[in-house]
Symmetry: C2
DNA sequence: GTCTATGCAAAGCTTTTGCACCACT
DNA sequence: AGTGGTGCAAAAGCTTTGCATAGAC
């Protein structure tokens, strides 16, 4: 099976201590995490916020991580299994997330292509307040 | 017919010079505009960037303006006609926009509701590079 | 006259960049 | 040994806040 570290090797990325830690946190997280979330979950001083951002960028480029844009413009990071395209229902407050295993992105992008758009991407997200947070 | 100024009155907002200018620009725009876009379209010094942000926030709260989140987290503003819910195909570079007059938001929000989420909202956007910009 | 809206200045927050040092392969 | 990754410090970019003044009703 392909764990996080194998995926680093597949992507020809070096297996460093910070990356091990980041993947470990992402794997055990029950919801998407912000850069700050990741930082605060680490032993204090064990890695820098910059390293988190740089790695999330690299991971996203290699499809190891999926980036979620919140309504506020802030971003969350989630481990992205190969071929596991999906969307989310996300709590605005605690970021508790429900997977949406549907996607009309294909049709949308076909439409966009027919309009002359290239290099396509799409976002489909539902934002709300979960029952925990609204209680 | 309900032009921008009437909509201000309906919302019990004061009809000020800055607001007239902002609505005028939004009405004549052929694509969603950023705060900076709006500023640069105004006679220099005729209003402040802060005024633009404050009004976009107020307008959005009253449904006069629709906010679009780009992949980068930046936001664009577009006039929002009453009852005119729709989504977009947006060029990452020039922000040229094609309306998507379809929306599965209803079903998505129903699903979210059944999962205990309240105060719902959703985003469906397609990003790409338009034929002008990729040429 | 009252209360909202604006301008200016300054701060806030997330994210990015530069550069020297470190460490994975 | 060589290249890629990390840390620290600093900057950048967009957006927000505070406060006194101006302007709409």
């Amino acid at each position: 099976m392909s764990n996080g570290i194998d995926r680093l090797r597949e992507a020809k990325l070096r297996v460093t201590q910070p990356r091990r830690q980041l993947l470990e946190e992402l794997e055990s997280a029950d919801r998407p995490l912000s850069a700050e979330d990741l930082l605060s979950k680490m032993a204090s001083g064990s890695l820098d916020l910059v390293t988190i951002y740089r790695n999330m960028t690299v991971f996203a480029e290699h499809g190891i991580v999926q980036v979620i844009q919140l309504e506020s413009g802030k971003q969350l990071f989630e481990l992205h299994a190969v071929g596991d395209h999906h969307h989310h229902i996300i709590c605005r407050e605690c970021h508790a997330t429900v997977r949406l295993d549907l996607c009309f992105g294909g049709e949308l992008e076909k439409l966009a292509k027919s309009q002359g758009y290239s290099d396509l991407n799409h976002t489909i997200e539902v934002f709300g307040v979960c029952s925990q947070c609204s209680a």
